[in-house]
Amino acid sequence: MNVQATTQALPPSMMKTALYALTLMVLVMASTGDADAEDHVVTQSNMSFSTADLTVKVGDTVSFSNRDSMAHNVYSLSDAKTFDLGSSAPNTSKKVTLDQPGVVDVECALHPSMRMKIKVTQ
């Protein structure tokens, strides 16, 4: 968007309004993250993650959706991302944002046979 070209043609009062609108837009974009960021859904069913390997970009999110009849957990102690999403009851979902490049080893603390890797690229 060519902001300068647009604002030059406006009278001062409208320009002030436009600047407020622009500031608001920037704040909204900052709070919602990169507009290109993608949400990847991984399901937990039959005591497994739906994929063993996933590649995402920095800024993407991964939603873990528990489709099992028991509670699960999702955590990682990897250098690239350390997080603990806590317990997920059946039919609930929890999300994590991957904000650094690297390999993230993900596991269910309750059921350590449930493992997967997320490769986070630039």
């Binding site: 028991m70 806590g86 009851a89 059921h111 350590p112 046979s113």
Partner: protein, 353 residues
């Protein structure tokens, strides 16, 4: 009542009697039996197929007290075949009679576990076998002394040569042999197994009722963790034992994986031959199977960090009696003397190997 209805009512009552009596003796297992059948073949890792020679060497080592520093303790001291391959104590005794902090887990069907020890710090049977030998509180093995002993003992030299030809005798080889022996300690012929295989009389009606409560998520909900077919999810749960409320409580799995839900969490044990391995829980705090059922029925005692899967529905006294009766149907005779020929092994991936 009209006379013409009498024969019809007689037929109906006979039908109902027949239906109910059949229901008591021929109830089909639910969920489908195949889910609960123990896999036919015992997994083993690359490079350690449990041949008869390896199993025999492992058996010799397993029962040999000279493996411990002071010659008083063998693997069998805490994993005794006569005590359900555990030791009958609330928590084990180590070197010099020291009381250890946890109960001795049975090694029955440990071959199938994807993770070993109460806190999961060992990945395979090979890793696990070295644990007590390396521990200064347990066997505290003097490996220099042990290697000298094994090297000069003609019987051991021949057994190692037969089991692992031309391989140097070292800690790894000892661990591999003991693990090979442990892979023969398999329980697969309980009344429950025979019932699953189609013998409808193998379990009593009460035991069959107990199984239904065991798997019902709205009542017993036991199978949420004691899952098919191993009666364990190879997972870790804080089950609300009162010992977790004490100062300096055993953190369990949390000591190795610092995740909140793992505070005071311990591995779900198998229930195979459970009637023979009292007392129960990692701290040995339950004397009987009924004590265990009562613990779950009241939802545990200390409820901080309780596993989110610990949810038992309302249980009547009859339900509790049925659950205990069912667990008593999980005991198999384990053949002795044990040999590789008596078990079925196959080369399948083992976690961590």
């Amino acid at each position: 009542m009209q006379p013409s209805m009498i024969p019809r009512l007689c037929v109906l009552s006979l039908f109902l009697v027949h239906a109910f009596s059949n229901a008591e003796t021929t109830t089909a297992p639910t969920p489908p039996p195949h889910e609960w059948r123990l896999p036919d073949h015992v997994p083993y890792p690359d490079g350690n197929e449990p041949t008869p020679q390896r199993v025999e060497l492992g058996r010799m080592l397993y029962f040999d007290k000279r493996l411990s520093r002071d010659g008083t303790t063998s693997c069998a001291s805490c994993h005794d075949p006569a005590q359900g391959w555990s030791d009958g104590l609330a928590t084990s005794r180590g070197l010099d009679g020291k009381t250890l902090p946890r109960a001795s887990p049975t090694i029955i069907n440990a071959a199938y576990n994807t993770i070993q020890m109460w806190d999961g710090r060992k990945a395979s049977l090979e890793d696990q076998a070295m644990g007590p030998m390396d521990s200064p509180d347990e066997m505290a093995t003097d490996f220099d002394k042990l290697m000298a002993l094994l090297g000069r003992d003609a019987t051991y030299r021949a057994a190692f040569q037969a089991a692992y030809p031309d391989a140097p005798i070292d800690k790894l080889l000892i661990a591999k042999a003991i693990a090979s022996f442990e892979r023969t300690v398999v329980a697969r012929n309980a009344p429950f197994d025979r019932w699953l295989a189609g013998d409808v009389t193998a379990m009593t009606v009460q035991q069959q009722r107990g199984f239904q409560i065991f798997v019902d998520p709205n009542t017993g909900n036991c199978a949420v963790c004691h899952r098919a077919p191993l009666f364990t999810d190879n997972g870790f749960h804080n089950i609300g034992l009162s010992s977790f409320g004490r100062e300096g409580a055993d953190p369990g799995r949390f000591a190795h994986k610092p995740i909140a839900v793992l505070k005071g969490a311990f591995k779900t044990p198998t229930l195979r031959n459970i009637a023979e391995t009292a007392p129960y829980f990692h701290d040995g705090s339950a004397a009987t199977l009924m004590d265990v059922v009562e613990h779950y029925a009241r939802g545990g005692d200390v409820k901080t960090h309780l596993s989110p899967n610990l949810k038992t529905g309302p249980l009547t006294q009859q339900d509790k009696d049925d659950l205990v009766a069912f667990m008593q149907a999980l005991s198999s005779p384990i053949p002795a003397p044990i040999s590789a020929a008596s078990t079925r092994v196959s080369h399948l991936p083992v976690a961590g190997k």
